[in-house]
Symmetry: C2
Subunit: 205 residues, 2 copies
Amino acid sequence: MEKSSIPEVVVARLPVYIQKLNQLVREGREIVSSQEMAEHLGVSSAQIRKDLSFFGGFGKQGTGYNVINLLESLRSILNLNQIWEVVLVGVGHLGQALLSYQGFSRNGFEIVMAFDNDPKIVGKTFAGIKVIDVNEMQNHICPRGVPIAILTVPAANAQEMADQLIRCGVKAILNYAPVTLKVPEGIRLANIDPVLSLQTITFYL
Amino acid sequence: MEKSSIPEVVVARLPVYIQKLNQLVREGREIVSSQEMAEHLGVSSAQIRKDLSFFGGFGKQGTGYNVINLLESLRSILNLNQIWEVVLVGVGHLGQALLSYQGFSRNGFEIVMAFDNDPKIVGKTFAGIKVIDVNEMQNHICPRGVPIAILTVPAANAQEMADQLIRCGVKAILNYAPVTLKVPEGIRLANIDPVLSLQTITFYL
DNA sequence: TAGATTGTTAATCGATTAACAATC
DNA sequence: TAGATTGTTAATCGATTAACAATC
C-alpha cells in the first residue's frame, strides 16, 4: 500500500467510519451494509465502498460487512492498535479542558506531558498531569520521543512553539491557535479553529 | 451572487484569508499580492485569485490588493459586519473554556446564553454568563431568535439537544460532540472533533 | 514606457457517482 | 435458485493549476 497514492480525503473519512462502527458494536450489531452506513453518515454508499476498496475487500456480497472485522481492519490501517503518546503545550482554559477530556485516552491517545510559561500554572496538576515549565521542553520531550503535540497557546506564540516542538522530534501537531503555521516537509499539521468554522457558516445564514 | 453556485471549499478559505489580512493590518501593511498571501498560507497564488474572482475584482493589476479594502470586502461577503449571537449548550470543561475564550467576541460572535443539565453547574456564572437549566432552553432561545449554537455535550445527548435547538429556531450548529448528527435540510452543521483529526494523522506516522 | 500583477480562460487533475458483473 | 450487496470500472462532475491578455 503506497500511502501517497491514497487521497487524503479518503483517509480523513476512515475515522468517521470507525466512530460509527464503534457505536454499532456497542449496540450489538454484527453486520452492516454500505447503504446503512451511508444513511447514518449522510454520504453515498458508493463512496463508502470506493473508500474501502483502496485498502482491500472487507465485505461479503449479498450480506455486507462484519462490524467487528471492518472496525479492526480500519483501526489497523490507521495504526490505531497502539497507544500514541501526546504532549500538550499551553495550559490555559482550553488546554486544561483537553487535559481532562476522556476522549483522547479512550481512543488510544495518551497525553503524557503538559507545558506552560505561566509561573502561576507551572507546577500545578490537571487530570494527573503536572505542568512543566516550557523552557524545560527540550529536556523532557527529546529523550522520550513523543510523536504528537497539541498546541493550545496564544496565536502570538504558536509558530515559535511549533518550531521548538519540531526540533524536539515531534512529527505531528494539532494546532488550536488561530494562525497558519509553517512546518517543514514531512511534519503533519492539522488545525482546529472554531472561529473559522463559524465564519464559513455565516455566509449561508 | 447565487450562493449555491459558489463551491463551499472556496467559502471555507475566505476566513483564512481574513485571518492573514487581519495580521497584515496589525503590521501596518497597506498592499499585498496574491503571491505573497499564497506563500504565507501555503497555497497557490492562482487559487487565491480564482477564489476571489467568484465575488468580484478586488485588486489592481501591477500592484496587488489593498489590505484594508480586501479585508472589508471579504468580511462583507461573509456577513461579518454584524454581531452574531450564539448559545452554548453543555458547560463542562470544554464549554467553560469556550465561554472564557476571547476569540469569539473579538471576531463578532457573542455567546449570550449557556445551558446545562447538571444541578451543580446550573446557576453558576462563567465569564459573565449565568448557566441556565437545559429544560428552560425553549423559553429563552425561541423568543430571542438566536441563530447559532455551540454544542459541547456528551455524545449520548448531542442528537437530542440538536433537535431541541433546531426546534428553538437555531439555524446553525457547531458540534463538538464525537458523533455524526442528523439535521434537516437548510440547517448548517460544522463539526470539530480532535480525535478524528488525530486518527487521520496517525495513518501517516 | 517597462515591469508587475490581476482576472480569466482553458487544460489538467482528482474525486464522486452511477451502474453492473461477480458472487455470497 | 433468487435476492442482495459487494468491489470495480467507466462516466460524470468539480476543483486546481497553468498560462496569458488586460491593464495599472
